[in-house]
């Protein structure tokens, strides 16, 4: 089912996407689906296992479901400190 999803990119992902956010109509059910489709679209090779995701500013899992109107935040490997 196609949903309108807002996607936000950070750090290296923003650089490969060429934008920090976009609104997309996507046929996805989980956060992992969003990652997979956008990885293909933006040609990024970062493995999903190294990345993290948040939905509407809450940390989420890759199998968390995504619904119409959600904002999905794609975090490349973090490196604080």
């Amino acid at each position: 089912m196609t949903k309108l999803i807002k996607v936000r990119y950070f750090a290296g992902f923003r650089e490969s996407a060429g934008t920090d956010e976009e609104e997309l109509s996507m046929d996805v059910s989980t956060a992992g689906d969003v990652f997979a489709q956008l990885q293909h679209r933006h040609g990024s090779s970062e493995p999903l296992g190294h990345c993290k995701v948040a939905i509407n500013d809450e940390m989420a899992d890759w199998d968390s479901s995504v619904k119409e109107g959600d904002t999905v935040l794609l975090f490349p490997p973090v490196a604080g400190g």
Partner: protein
Amino acid sequence: MKITADSIEPDKLRDDLLDRGAGAYVSFEGWIRDHNDGQKVQRLEYEVYEPVAIKEGEKVIEEAKKKFPLLHVACVHRSGLLEIGECAVWVGVTSAHRDEAFAACRYIIDQVKVRLPIWKKEHYVEGHSGWVNCERCAEHGHKHSVVTGN
């Protein structure tokens, strides 16, 4: 948990943790080194997604308080452009005895480094720059995604 674009002042942060019941104070500071992985670093740029970094940092602090009998805990992380020698992150813990202060301080910095949405881009003396990948990923032989020319 605090994110700040201003200089971290450890002595002031320490004073907020004073407690008549505290016998031990342990602090950790992460400083900007002039080298990493054999490359000479000129400065570092921290990108922080604050809304989630603060929430996740508070969660880490709560976990530490549950695991160890602590009196006070605080953590501050910088954002923006940092020069060599600057303090990027500070963790301070007080408790009655030192065992738990050491353990909690270590727990917090370890978790902060791998869980908070914070990214650093190293700017090298040679002119290029690169996003530094997470420590855990580094263990899998997967370290820099170097972007040249900036």
